[in-house]
Symmetry: C2
Subunit: 246 residues, 2 copies
DNA sequence: CGAGCAATTGAGACAAGTCAAAGCTGGTGG
DNA sequence: CCACCAGCTTTGACTTGTCTCAATTGCTCG
């Protein structure tokens, strides 16, 4: 673990070097970022910030998973962001966090103090461009998510979530998901429910149903195998190409 | 109408001059934008582009209302964007429209051919910065919308939509919504249903219920008066401050 | 005045929620 | 090494909010 941390401290060998907000940087720009960056780690389940808290940094997710969520007075909660490695956390120019941020696994962040980052953003077009690109991608993802929340059935929601996770997992390794591919579900049933606007009981039932119907196979609670990716996609209710290009 | 059009052609007197993507431009930058801009108008209900179509321009909404929506194979549709005056339409660098864009009222767009705009975006930090800011705002709005879609009851959804429209309406005039304020509902029941992930019958029933309970008053189908704005906010289920700062 | 569209209202069906009880599983301490 | 506990998950029985289908009303415009 210590050696991994040491490795992470070097931008060149950083696992998210080519996808994160820094991916368009030239070596000299990278050096500037390097000088204001520091790492933070969180254990699974730990809060990163609470909605309303002051947040003096922005960050890239290096490894692990974090979630953004909103909670209503009476306790109903809706996840509104799922941050995987290379995703960006925080908003330049904003002091107060609008969402609860929670680590959903062991999590490592590459943090930048907000002020210096804002200055860098202002002076370095390649960072600003990349951040715009990433924000536009997130907006697209949010809009796809809105279709899921607003119009899909419970079964379609589960199938959609599995598809999304399989695709993002695969794209981290620069592949497309294939038949027979196996991946780890990084979310508890409750987190899946919060993502999809369902109750955890409904999630459990629908996961069981997809398993019973042979769409997915489960090893333990978390390890999912998709024997026929087309079949899973067909369950999402999306038209053939599965929505947005990645 | 003709004289309005003439007026619009002048950036200085443009009604969205201070809010749109061009709002941070210096006079010389404005001049560059001016040279690649042109206006388009659409009647209520007309399609602007269909998902999958090529789109050779990006645009600012000058007046009127446009919606972005996604449609599933079987016809279920979910609105994923509501564009009011000053909002930006299109994505630099993207050729194909991912959503159906429809004009929901008489609509005037200030269009920029995509290629020249992309170049300008690359060369003009003030435009890039403003676009980033606007995209981040839209992402926040999308996330608030996700809470509505995922967790709110039909009544809360209607109250939330009314609140959002009242607030955006008011902010165009640089005010906060006040008790007794009246505004026009720019959406049909069906469009409201598509926005909220409901059926139009449920929308109609809940609007009637809010009216019956004295939360809102209706003149005709479209003109809404809110006698007590706090009371409406209380129906949204949000905590006191109503979510995100505007 | 009547055609056409939007909105309302009602009755019954159904998908998902709620409440409750077991079943697993992995970790801790006796 | 096993027993037990705690947290997550599954499953069941019942309730309910929203949808579906259908009929009616109200507007607007030719």
């Amino acid at each position: 673990m210590t050696e991994l941390l040491l490795e992470e401290r070097n931008c060149e060998s950083c696992p998210i070097r080519h996808r994160a907000v820094c991916s368009k940087c030239e070596p000299d720009e990278l050096h500037l970022l390097d000088s204001i960056k520091y790492y933070r780690t969180y254990e699974a389940g730990q809060p990163v910030v609470w909605a309303g808290d002051e947040m003096d940094f922005v960050a890239s997710v290096v490894s692990g998973i974090a979630t953004l969520s909103q909670t209503m007075e009476d306790g109903r909660t809706q996840m509104v962001g799922l941050l995987l490695p290379s995703d960006f956390l925080g908003r330049p120019g904003r002091v107060t966090a609008p969402y609860d941020v929670t680590s959903n696994s062991n999590l490592t962040l590459c943090c930048f103090r907000r002020r210096p980052f804002e200055k860098l953003l202002h002076d370095t077009p390649s960072i600003a461009q990349r951040l715009l690109e990433m924000t536009l991608d997130e907006l697209d993802a949010a809009r796809q998510w809105m279709l899921i929340l607003g119009r899909k059935t419970a079964r379609e929601k589960i199938a959609s979530l599995l598809t999304i996770i399989a695709q993002r997992e695969a794209s981290l390794h620069k592949r497309r998901p294939t038949d027979g591919s196996t991946f780890e579900l990084p979310l508890t049933r409750e987190a899946m429910a919060d993502y999809l606007g369902l109750t955890l009981e409904t999630v459990s039932r629908q996961v069981s149903a997809l398993k019973r119907d042979g769409i997915i196979e489960l090893e333990g609670k978390r390890l999912v195998t998709v024997p026929d990716f087309e079949a899973l996609m067909a369950e999402t209710g999306d038209d053939a190409d599965g929505g947005l290009p990645v």
